[in-house]
Amino acid sequence: MSSDLLNLTLRVWRQAAPNQPGEFRDYRLNGVSTHMSFLEMLDVLNEQLIAQGEVPVAFDHDCREGICGMCSLMINGQAHGPDRGTTSCQLHMRRFRNGETITIEPWRADPFPVIRDLVVNRSAFDRIIQAGGFVSVNTGNAPDGNSVPVPGVRQEMAMDAAACIGCGACVAACKNASAMLFVSAKVSQLSILPQGQPERANRVLNMVAQMDKEGFGSCTNTSECEAACPAEVSVAHIARLNREYMKAMLFADH
């Protein structure tokens, strides 16, 4: 449990406003404990900047336990840093070496415009869900929870997809800035469960149409999204989206 201290150089993307040009700025940060989380390290940097009279680095974060999906950092060219199945807030400084230079960039994708520094706008994801990522059941309409059995194995599959935290790492890591893993996670979850059946065909058609409209790229099946996903959502769900889409395209009652 003993802690080592690191001296680091941080190359951080600074951008004052959405339409202004940004640039990298280098900061020295000494005495970083290896027990710190990555975001705590940024907190320390910001305290140092405030003391020096420089405006602190803006970065999105909230729950700091890897579930809210708010944090979104490209750390040394990897979404959420080097670990698999980990968000930036759960990444710890013990993963870095003394003397290292760490490059920190925002997610880069045209549908995710930068708002300031490392903060991007991910409302495109909300609009994709609005296009069909739901079950149309008004409050009060529900039958008893046990009235439709869901085999444990199917429920587990749905849960694997539902675990998506909507952080956008899949888009950030994909060389095409494709949102297929995000979209497929919701399509997959609801197409596996009996509750999602009535809207199954339209859901996939509408969500894909919205995804395109937002300007995300297409899927080249490199599986980089799966490697970057902190919730470890599998590309198997992309294959399921493809099947769902094909079926809907060919056989749905339009």
Binding site: A109, D110, K175, A177, G215, G217, S223, A236, M249
Partner: protein, 252 residues
């Protein structure tokens, strides 16, 4: 780029006028739909390659057998013409879709990262494995296609001596000798070799990717499917390369 896209979308506009097809055409114009068409045209082209390779392996059986096979093909007449048109259309569609999706992908990230690393550690090729080289290898294959048609369809290969293949009227009708002449030419053999390696790379991602795009993904079958894809990709590339080795060997 927009003008080009408009031209490329003409067939789709035409097809959407056919009653009942509109929803399908619309669906095919989305990113997912385009990837389907990529997959289907890609797999069709692989089908062609398999047939082509099966025919060409008859080179090993000697001049008489191979020329008889070539004769038989040519005797198909208009059927062969239709097949060729179909083949070119498939090629054109595959390439057109590649340009369309690639431009979509470029537009999705206009300013790129200062530093980008993969989280997948298994790649032999840099920049994220074969998938990152589809455009480059695709262009190489396209270039190869042009040379290949010059060499063996039009028999106008640059610097190739077709003498052995000629009949009395100076027409290069002996297919066996024409192939041998091209493949034994060191420059052509070199180009063919490089392009076939590119083909192997292209297919090693292409087959796997096409299967995933078509929704073939199941934990019980993934290993078998991936192995099959890999074996097919390098089987096809290796099969063609074996012909170059054969030609170079039999020259001496």
């Amino acid at each position: 780029m927009n003008a080009l896209l408009r031209v490329l979308s003409l067939p789709a506009v035409f097809l959407s006028k056919i009653p009942g097809l509109a929803p399908v055409v619309r669906a095919c114009s989305t990113s997912v739909g385009q990837k389907f068409l990529m997959a289907i045209t890609g797999l069709s082209l692989i089908g062609f390659l398999v047939v082509h390779l099966a025919g060409n392996l008859q080179l090993f059986a000697g001049e008489a057998v191979f020329n008889a096979y070539a004769e038989k093909l040519h005797s198909l007449g208009p059927l062969l013409g239709i097949a060729e048109v179909g083949l070119f259309a498939t090629f054109a569609a595959h390439i057109g879709l590649a340009i369309s999706t690639a431009s979509m992908n470029k537009l999705a990230r206009k300013s790129s990262y200062a530093l980008k690393e993969t989280k997948q550690g298994l790649f032999i090729l840099p920049a994220g494995g074969a998938s990152s080289w589809m455009m480059v290898t695709g262009l190489l294959i396209f270039g190869f296609l042009v040379i290949h048609i010059m060499d063996l369809k039009l028999k106008k290969g640059f610097g190739v001596d077709y003498t052995a293949a000629m009949n009395a009227d100076n027409e290069a009708v002996n297919s066996f000798q024409a192939v041998k002449a091209v493949l034994s030419h060191p420059v052509h053999a070199g180009i063919y070799f490089v392009c076939l390696i590119a083909l192997g790379i292209h297919l090693s991602h292409g087959i796997r990717s096409a299967l995933q795009t078509l929704g073939l993904h199941h934990k019980n079958w993934n290993f078998a499917l991936r192995t099959l894809g890999f074996v097919m990709a390098w089987g096809i590339a290796g099969g063609f390369i074996s012909l170059i080795v054969w030609a170079l060997g039999s020259k001496s």
